[in-house]
Subunit: 93 residues, 4 copies
């Protein structure tokens, strides 16, 4: 079980929609669609992916970090460190 | 013709790779892969998409904005405004 | 006490350096320094501020969220929600 | 003269306000203000700085890149490359 297991179907639905949007951009590029319109679509996908990341992160902190906090100081520290690294990657991507 | 038309095949190759990565994340979620590993992959895709956006934007400025600048003040102004809006969307996504 | 209280001096030092960098940009603008050089400096400050945010966030999760997790389910849930909102603001800023 | 010279006073006003906000955060940290409230303020400054960057970038493209486009292909190419690098730094910061 992962932190997001309870919302698995919702994440899968969102990811399939994102996959379809990426295919949509391929068609736009094949058709030489105007650059700005392609860019608008790419920004929409980036936003959708970021929203998936934010959801996964909240599930992770709410389940895995909270669980570790109740286990031991060492477990909590390790999970907090790992979550902080993931947040940093997210902010910088 | 769009600003990126000369590099169309390269963009299509990158977008197909991104599509495959999105499918890969769906499999990770189906298998209840550890949250942090899924997040790392989503960040990698976001980075790849941003790199596509930056490329499209450079092509756009290099072709469409430069072209408009040589046409007239009004054309230049309109294209600069439009590019600035696209950059803002990109930075905020 | 806040989650970051133990590292207060370090944060204050970083924030004073950032304040100095913002003043530095004012001088650059007053001197009509080349746009790209001003932009490079603004990006450096944004990065420094983001690094302060990431530190505060890690301190917050490590102290306040972990503390709430050990208190009760309700306390944990409220702190996780609040942290998730702060992460979202950070990612979108 | 730089691309932003016409709006210099406006930029200086915004930068002075940002400087004041950075000082405000120092006071919050000195007073052990709750982490989330500090984070909200830091995000507000990051947003304000990004808005300065977006303005400088638009001024730069509208003046320097457009000017170079009217000068020569080589000048245009160099300025477009440089602007694209600045945009990439902005997106990744």
């Amino acid at each position: 079980m992962a932190g997001y297991t309870g919302s698995k179907d919702d994440y899968l639905k969102r990811l399939r929609r994102i996959e379809g949007q990426v295919r949509g951009i391929q068609r736009m590029v094949e058709d030489d669609t105007y650059c700005i319109d392609v860019l608008t679509q790419v920004s929409a996908i980036t936003k959708a992916l970021q929203s998936v990341s934010l959801g996964l992160l909240e599930d992770h902190v709410g389940h895995c970090v909270v669980g570790a906090a109740r286990e031991s100081d060492e477990a909590a520290e390790a999970k907090v460190r790992e979550a902080a690294d993931a947040i940093a990657r997210l902010v910088r991507s």
